[in-house]
Amino acid sequence: MHYRITDFLADIVENALDAGSGFTEIKIIQDDGNLKVSVKDTGKGMTEAEILRARDPFGTDGKKHPGRRVGLGIPFLVQALNETGGDFSISSRPGAGTTVSFRFDLRHLDTPPLGSLPETFRQILSLPGSHDMAIHRALETESYDLSRRELLETLEDLESVGSLAILEQYLESLEDSVQSPEKGARHGKNDP
């Protein structure tokens, strides 16, 4: 089971890229005690039967884990949401892509900690391949946007230690800008 909300996010984004997404749009909107996340990809999409299988912890396409019957990413997320009063939805069309959306109730006692968004953004932005990614992060009235293509143009690469070290500084400055000092103690700010 994943420990932080950002771990669930990383897992869903990984699924999108595994499905061959050329452009992945991620929204993380925090407002009024809720964290709403959506991951919209342009990957190969799924049929109704495949969507059902994605929610089965023993369902797999047989390619990622030859000889094994595991597929835990989405079942982990659905279980965590069921236990904490959250919502989950998935819509998909073969050949068009998939959108996974979920909402965590940040006021629920058992909701996992948020985790570090700058660290997670750096990790998902540096997932390999020639794909593009757009991230929209909002915290009440404040927000910022990230484009993988723009960052790649600016940094020239998203895999060397030099680029990833300064990318973290950049992402932390953006996240700090939406977290005003009086909100410093809010959920997620001081998570491990």
Partner: protein, 130 residues
């Protein structure tokens, strides 16, 4: 920290590049591959990746490449990390937590000494039987 712009980021990148060019280029052919599937993430692979990046940055090894990959078949030994570098065999390490990541940078990459108790054989036994 003041909110940075893309121009600020570019400036930082240029400064870093200049300082890298002046120094002897260290770590140019070194590649670190981290398993970042459900199993890896659940075992803390994101923390492992950050630990590698921080330690390599501290050691001024800015040219080392850090890549992510899917499940390498060792779900029971996550986080798993493969190190490719000249002068050393290609090695897959298992159970690489933050402290082990630092140890890999200092001992394997800089000291060229294997960390025996974390080495994995591959492919994973159950996949080999198929």
């Amino acid at each position: 920290m003041a909110k940075m712009t893309l121009e600020d980021l570019k400036k930082l990148r240029d400064e870093k590049k200049k300082s890298m060019d002046r120094r002897e280029v260290e770590g140019k052919d070194i590649e670190i591959i981290i398993g970042m599937a459900t199993c890896g993430i659940a075992a803390g692979a994101k923390d492992t990746m950050s630990a590698f990046l921080t330690e390599l940055d501290n050691q001024n090894m800015h040219n080392v490449v850090v890549r992510q990959t899917g499940c390498m078949g060792f779900c029971y030994a996550e986080p798993t990390v493969e190190i490719l570098m000249p002068g050393m065999p290609n090695i897959l390490y298992g159970n690489v937590d933050k402290d082990t990541a630092v140890k890999i940078v200092r001992k394997h990459i800089l000291g060229k000494v294997l960390i025996n108790d974390h080495i994995l054989d591959r492919p994973s036994a159950d996949i080999m039987q198929q």
